[in-house]
């Protein structure tokens, strides 16, 4: 956790864009991700994706 003291905060934002906007007003660098539910939000496809990712690891 010491890195938080050594390096400036740099944020990746996944979800509500308003949070990225609020960081920008504080001059905190932020990358907003255009997030959308994986696998088109279909639970059975998501399960398959997760299994594939596990195998990958």
């Amino acid at each position: 956790m010491k890195d938080l003291r050594r390096k400036p905060l740099r944020v990746v934002n996944l979800g509500l864009e308003i949070f990225a906007d609020e960081l920008k007003t504080q001059n905190v660098p932020v990358t907003h991700v255009r997030w959308r539910p994986p696998a088109g939000g279909k639970p059975h496809l998501l399960e398959i994706l997760e299994k594939l990712e596990e195998l990958d690891r």
């Binding site: 956790m1 010491k2 890195d3 938080l4 003291r5 390096k7 400036p8 905060l9 740099r10 944020v11 990746v12 934002n13 996944l14 979800g15 509500l16 864009e17 308003i18 949070f19 990225a20 609020e22 960081l23 007003t25 504080q26 905190v28 660098p29 990358t31 907003h32 991700v33 255009r34 997030w35 959308r36 539910p37 994986p38 088109g40 939000g41 279909k42 997760e50």
Partner: protein
């Protein structure tokens, strides 16, 4: 009534953005109902209930945006749909300027900004744990705003974080401060020497705002999530955060705010605090321990006085000069019908503190229930936010509840909070004050008592927000603690007799 609908396939938008869209279109003349929702089964259910979808009809996909407008005429309804589409396309284009490429996932973001060190995650709960784990495994600290994360996932995430010496703030974490920057719903406070560890959000906001007014700033404010001190999670992140603040050179004193730890977890926390090498103030709301601060307000004052090298003795609220006369004159001025108190809160911790204070003074207080003489509703709770924005983001639904409460003959006081700061509504007092003024104009009404959490540097003007409430006849107290006690005195003036 004429209805127009449109489905925008593969057009995922976050819920706050959609709420703003619905509000904007809903204000158009002749428009009576607007829905702008992702096409999930749960949202389909909400639209069915609002009469904006038909029974038996298939819903769109979770990545498809559904727009529905009910208006006075068919033409107006179609017009509103077209306007909504234009609004969405415009903001999309504005969001993706040439210099502002938006990656579609964490990996893409890290490729563009490999120096990133923290992920803020506010995606729907079902996807949150996976995104948070990916972020931790990429070496990022995590601020996890999403709720509905399973407790097993929370434990796994926190263990992973600790192993990697990272912070996992949350789940359901609304507020944090890291190295002076506010994450989520935060008030603009000065950097300083007070390190805070808090469960989730509004308790931390209230205390840092109070400290700011007392001239003290914040080093870090670490949200650990409301379940961290439960038996299942075992205080994993609280202990980890204590370690972090112990070695932090900026932090001179630590403030710990939460509901009381589980009996199994308490000894470990007490041991860690005993061995903690810096001064600390503990406020476990509802715990009975003379060494700990009883209220949020006491906690803030205790920190400020310890830093001055003095010791803090809380004053007796009911013994303060002029209070008896103020209560008596308000009771004379407004002949209220009842003697019950209804608390309508946007902040969960403030709701919880009010409940504890009122129970101590008046007896039983019901929690998130429709019945009971004295009732507290935490309107940020999931049960009140289905298909509706959180009351800190959009004050309208609470304004409606205030109007209804004003007609309730059993009520003597309506008690509420007003949370200012980043990400909160721009003018939260306005709609509430309008509703209260209108209700009071109709004759007999309960007293309205409130507290405002905010600082001089917040995006809203705190003095102006207080003035708006006071103009509507609201009694505004300097803290949530005092507002609850004042409300109790209004319905039970005997509290002022034996002091």
């Amino acid at each position: 009534m004429p209805l127009a609908r449109a489905v925008l396939p593969s057009f995922y938008q976050d819920s706050v953005k959609l709420m703003r869209l619905a509000r904007e279109i809903g204000e158009k003349k002749g428009v009576s109902e607007v829905a702008a929702l992702m096409g999930t089964p749960a949202n389909h259910e909400i639209m069915l209930q609002a009469g904006l979808a038909e029974d038996g009809e298939a819903y769109a996909g979770s990545n498809d945006l559904v727009l529905a407008v009910e208006a006075d005429t068919q033409e107006l309804a179609y017009e509103a749909i077209e306007e909504a589409k234009a609004f969405l396309t415009q903001t999309r284009v504005a969001g993706v300027g040439a210099s502002d490429f938006l990656p579609s996932g964490l990996a893409g973001a890290l490729a563009g900004a490999p120096e990133s060190n923290l992920a803020m995650i506010s995606v729907p709960g079902a996807y949150a744990a996976k995104e948070a784990m990916d972020a931790l495994r990429s070496g990022l600290h995590v601020f996890l705003f999403s709720d509905n994360v399973a407790v097993d996932d929370e434990v796994a995430l926190k263990r992973e974080a600790i192993e990697r010496d990272l912070l996992l703030m949350g789940p359901d974490c609304g507020t944090a401060y890291i190295a002076g920057a506010g994450l989520g719903f935060t008030n603009a406070v000065k950097p300083g020497r007070v390190g805070c560890i808090a469960a989730s959000g509004t308790g931390l906001q209230a205390v840092v705002s109070q400290l700011d007014a007392l001239g003290e700033g914040i080093s870090h404010g670490i949200g650990v999530g409301g379940r961290d001190l439960s038996a299942e999670v075992g205080g994993l992140m609280t202990l980890h955060a204590l370690d972090f603040l112990s070695s932090d050179p900026e932090t001179e004193i630590v403030l710990l705010i939460s509901k009381p730890p589980d009996a199994e977890v308490l000894p470990g926390i007490e041991e860690a605090l005993e061995n903690f090498d810096k001064p600390h103030v503990v406020c476990f709301l509802g715990a009975e321990n003379p060494d700990w601060a009883e209220t949020l307000e006491d906690a803030g004052h205790a920190v400020a006085t310890v830093l001055k090298g003095e010791s803090y003795e809380p004053e007796n609220f009911f013994a303060q000069a002029g209070l008896k006369e103020r209560v008596a004159s308000l009771r004379m001025e407004e002949e209220t019908a009842g003697e019950g108190i209804l608390g309508l809160f946007s902040g969960g911790t403030l709701a919880h503190e009010s409940r504890l204070i009122l129970e101590g003074l008046l007896g039983e207080v019901s929690w998130n229930e429709a019945a009971g003489r004295h009732r507290i509703l935490d309107l940020g709770d999931d049960r009140y936010t289905v298909g509706k924005p959180h009351p800190m983001i959009d004050p309208e639904s609470r304004a409606e509840m205030l109007s209804q409460a004003a007609m309730d003959e059993n009520l003597g006081v309506v008690l509420f909070d007003l949370m200012l700061g980043r990400a909160s509504a721009q003018d939260p007092a306005g709609p509430l004050a309008r509703a209260i003024k209108e209700a009071r104009g109709k004759g007999r009404s309960p007293h309205f008592v409130a507290s405002v959490v905010g600082t001089a540097d917040d995006p809203q003007d705190v003095d102006e927000q207080v003035r708006i409430l006071e103009d509507a006849g609201v009694v505004v107290l300097p803290s949530n603690t005092q507002a609850a006690r004042f409300a109790a005195a209004l319905v039970k003036p005997e509290l002022l007799e034996d002091v």
